[in-house]
């Protein structure tokens, strides 16, 4: 399947381009991390928009459910997304 995301349509959230929207398909990591990410609203099926990538400081800013949230890139790697419909 090819599309905006290239050959592999699923990718880690930290590889999303600035300004693009995607749908979360998977949240992993150990139980604690996974639960925390979900409690912050990162659930499978949730639409997220990557507002800003700050690679220099290792942080990215997201918009989720009309809220803003900044995560470390290291934590964002546990979230898998697919292109928004």
């Amino acid at each position: 399947m090819t599309g905006r995301f290239g050959h592999n349509s699923r990718r880690a959230l930290d590889r999303l381009e600035e300004g693009s929207e995607a749908v979360l398909v998977e949240v992993d990591g150990d139980t604690g991390l996974r639960r925390r990410l979900m409690e912050l609203g990162m659930l499978p099926g949730t639409v997220v928009r990557l507002v800003r990538r700050m690679d220099a400081v290792g942080v990215l800013e997201l918009e989720v459910r009309r809220c803003r949230l900044s995560l470390r890139l290291a934590d964002a790697r546990h979230l898998t997304v697919r292109p928004a419909a």
Partner: protein, 738 residues
């Protein structure tokens, strides 16, 4: 009308996500009555204060740590749960006020739902409604209150807006708790496996937790199902409940169920279904704050602007406070002089001038820097920039086990540890805060400067061509202190304050114009608060030091000196030429000698000699011991104490020449020089690491609410200082230095 005391007053807990203005609201509501106490049974600090309601009743307000959820992953969440749910040994609050950031509404509602489930009366304080204006968003409070089933009061805590309405709502909810008590909003479908899990588990919830209320016992069962999964943090979980949870979770996993998805997803689904009813608009894709952030968080520009800003702040801190410091110093000496002329030169005058006024003055001198620092930190926090600093510094600070927000307090430590410790209040997690507080006093504060100045001059004589070497040595001491602070933070983060690495969520609030009246009130309140609490301890300590240096009075020596004074006067009569000046010199000389004799025989002198065996391996004699004892009250006192011990008279910081010469020529009984460069270096290392600041200990006591942490700080720093000085002195001797 009966006035309840703290003990039987009804209690209102303020809860909420981190950075939703919880503490601001708490301070606005409680004002001067706020104080730091401990949670019952444990030594964790918690703010409490009083609020008088319109009806005249006074209720106790309790702050709770900011948290995204009640799942007990961190000590903060554990305490939040315990204080909101009222798990033993805490008692259930009569009301919970949940602060909610209006611009981050849906995420905040997750916690609101959890708290409502616990069957306690809830009011939502919809905070920061002003920040919505710029984004074009509107929250329909009536619709929100309708969906949640609890009162919703819009407020702007930092401007003090909406507080009257909130206070009225608190009074109404306390009068009619059912109005704020709607029962579960989201609940598992009655025929679901999750509902069966909850029903079974609720039988294992102890009665002391649910108090005979079925809703509450189901809520705690649901909570246990998520919280007790793996290593949880709660101590007093009944074995029956823990094992019931384990078996239910195992069964769920075997059936391919995802409990996190069911419970967390269930609550969010409830919120998602209703969001359009109370949030009619969508946020713009790119707000003004985003455009500012594009610059301030730019990988190059952002760091450049931040470093420039820090430089300006510290320049202002050092130079801007200077005139005021000079003014206070002049005022203190004038007052001390006045006291001397009123009370005479006897013991009383000496006590008032040197014990009281100079002692308290040495502490008041730091007030301009302290107030300026409060103002800067408050300003950075209020306009929203502090969160950006946390983002910029996150990667570096994280490697050291510190929070990004620790950066500004640590830098502030270069000026003075006391306001810097108060500035750590911007950190929500107790662990981050404690690590920063414990490492902070190692940063080279301005009180170490005069000591370093004196000792560096003793190592490198102040010839013009040696200025560069002196500067280099000073810079090295600054670097040494900073590196040690970071090392200590790193070690503490892996030992004493070991904590699980929780994914860092950084919230970046919209930029706001600072609200000056609140800001200035805050600076003033923290300032007076500090003077009152730390000042009292300083005053007592100053009196203590004066007593140690003044008693016992050495009458024998005085008699001998009197005799010599008489001889000097007789000499003077025989040679009338240059009379007054010579007499004055002779008298000064004798007075200094008398002071030195007094210092030698005083309790402080005896203490110095008593500890001499302990400090001799560091290269220090008893005179340095007296200086160290004196410096315990405050570092800069070392210079003046040495002045007294060496009989060099009163020593001003910039006129240490006479003292330096005497120190230079002082010897051990066997004729070896005492103040060799190696000893001075060892002494500087000691001063860099030792906790010689009562104000710091006083403020740590104030901030942690107990004496354990200041005790720990004093102990580890003293051990560190002794060890490092030992290594420097003995190591230096081994490689042939002197």
């Amino acid at each position: 009308m009966t006035r309840r005391t703290d003990d039987d007053a009804r209690s209102v807990v303020i809860a909420g996500n981190p950075n939703t203005g919880k503490s601001t609201l708490f301070n606005q509501l409680t004002g001067a009555s706020a104080r730091v106490g401990n949670y019952p049974g444990i030594t964790v600090e918690r703010s409490q204060g009083r609020l008088t309601l319109p009806g005249g009743e006074t209720v106790m307000m309790l702050d709770s740590p900011g948290t995204y959820s009640l799942v007990a992953r961190s000590p903060e969440e554990e305490l939040s749960l315990e204080s909101i749910a009222g798990l033993p040994p805490l008692t259930a609050p009569d009301l919970v006020v949940v602060t909610v950031d209006a611009s981050q509404l849906t995420r905040n509602l997750y916690l609101v739902l959890q708290i409502i489930e616990l069957d306690v009366p809830v009011i939502v304080a919809l905070n920061m409604v002003d920040t919505l204006v710029g984004t074009g968003q509107v929250v329909d409070e009536t619709a929100l209150a309708h969906e949640l089933g609890v009162p919703v009061v819009p407020i702007v805590a930092r401007r003090g807006e909406g507080l009257d309405a909130l206070t009225r709502a608190i009074a109404e909810a306390l009068a009619a708790p059912e109005s704020a008590h709607p029962g579960w909003r989201w609940r598992p479908a009655s025929d679901s496996a999750l509902a069966a899990d909850v029903a079974t588990l609720s039988e294992s919830v102890p009665a002391s937790w649910h108090g005979g209320r079925p809703e509450r016992s189901r809520a705690l069962a649901l909570w246990a199902l998520l919280s007790l999964a793996d290593e949880h943090r709660l101590d007093d979980v009944p074995e029956a409940l823990a094992s019931a949870v384990t078996s239910r979770r195992t069964a769920a996993a075997a059936a391919g169920r995802d409990l996190e998805q069911e419970i967390i997803g269930g609550r969010y689904a409830w919120i998602d279904e209703r969001t359009d009813r109370f949030l009619k608009t969508r946020p713009p894709p790119l707000s003004l704050t985003d455009r500012i952030d594009a610059v301030l968080l730019h990988p190059v520009l952002g760091f450049g602007i931040f470093l420039t800003m820090m430089t300006v702040v510290f320049q202002a801190l050092f130079t801007g406070a200077d005139p005021l410091i000079g003014l206070i110093e002049d005022g203190v000496s004038a007052l001390a002089g006045l006291a001397g002329s009123i009370f005479g030169h006897g013991m009383l005058g000496d006590f008032v001038a040197n014990g009281l006024i100079e002692g308290v003055g040495a502490f008041l001198v730091f007030m301009p820097q302290i107030l300026l620092l409060f103002l800067f930190v408050g300003l950075l926090e209020d306009c929203g920039y502090m969160s950006r600093v946390a983002v910029l510094m996150d990667r570096i600070m994280k490697r050291l086990g510190l929070h990004g927000r620790a950066f500004v307090p640590l830098m502030s430590g270069y000026a003075c540890a006391v306001p810097a410790i108060l500035a750590t209040r911007t950190m929500e997690r107790r662990r981050d805060r404690m690590i920063t507080i414990m490492a902070l006093p190692l940063m080279t504060c301005s009180a170490r400067l005069p000591v370093y100045g004196l000792l560096i001059a003793a190592i490198v004589p102040p010839w013009e061509e040696a200025r560069f070497a002196q500067g280099l040595l000073m810079a090295a001491m600054y670097l040494f202190g900073t590196v040690m602070a970071l090392v200590v933070a790193w070690v503490l983060g892996r030992t004493v304050f070991k904590g699980k690495n929780i994914p860092l969520v950084i919230e970046m609030p919209p930029y706001r114009v600072p609200h000056w009246p609140t800001l200035l009130r805050m600076v003033l309140r923290r300032g007076t608060d500090f003077v009152k609490t730390a000042g009292t301890i300083i005053l007592v300590a100053s009196i203590g030091m004066w007593v140690l240096l003044t008693f016992p009075q050495t009458s024998a020596d005085e008699a001998a000196l009197e005799a010599r004074l008489a001889v000097a006067s007789a000499d003077l009569a025989a040679a009338p030429g240059e009379a007054p000046r010579a007499l004055a010199d002779a008298v000064t000389e004798l007075e200094n000698e008398a002071a030195a004799a007094q210092a030698r025989n005083s309790y402080a002198g005896r203490l110095g000699r008593l500890i001499e065996p302990a400090i001799e391996p560091l290269g220090f004699d008893w005179k340095i011991g007296v200086g160290i004892v004196g410096a315990f009250a405050a570092r800069e006192v070392f210079v003046s104490t040495m002045g007294v011990v060496y009989g060099a008279g009163e020593v001003a910081d910039d006129e240490t020449r006479g003292l330096r010469e005497k120190m230079w020529s002082d010897t051990w009984p066997d004729g070896r020089r005492i103040f060799t460069p190696l000893v001075c270096l060892s002494l500087m290392v000691f001063f860099a690491l030792a906790c010689q600041c009562l104000s710091t200990l006083a403020v740590v006591h104030r901030e942690t609410g107990n004496w354990i942490w200041p005790g720990f700080m004093f102990a580890y720093m003293t051990v560190l200082a002794w060890g490092a000085s030992f290594v420097v002195f003995q190591g230096g001797r081994l490689i042939g230095l002197s």
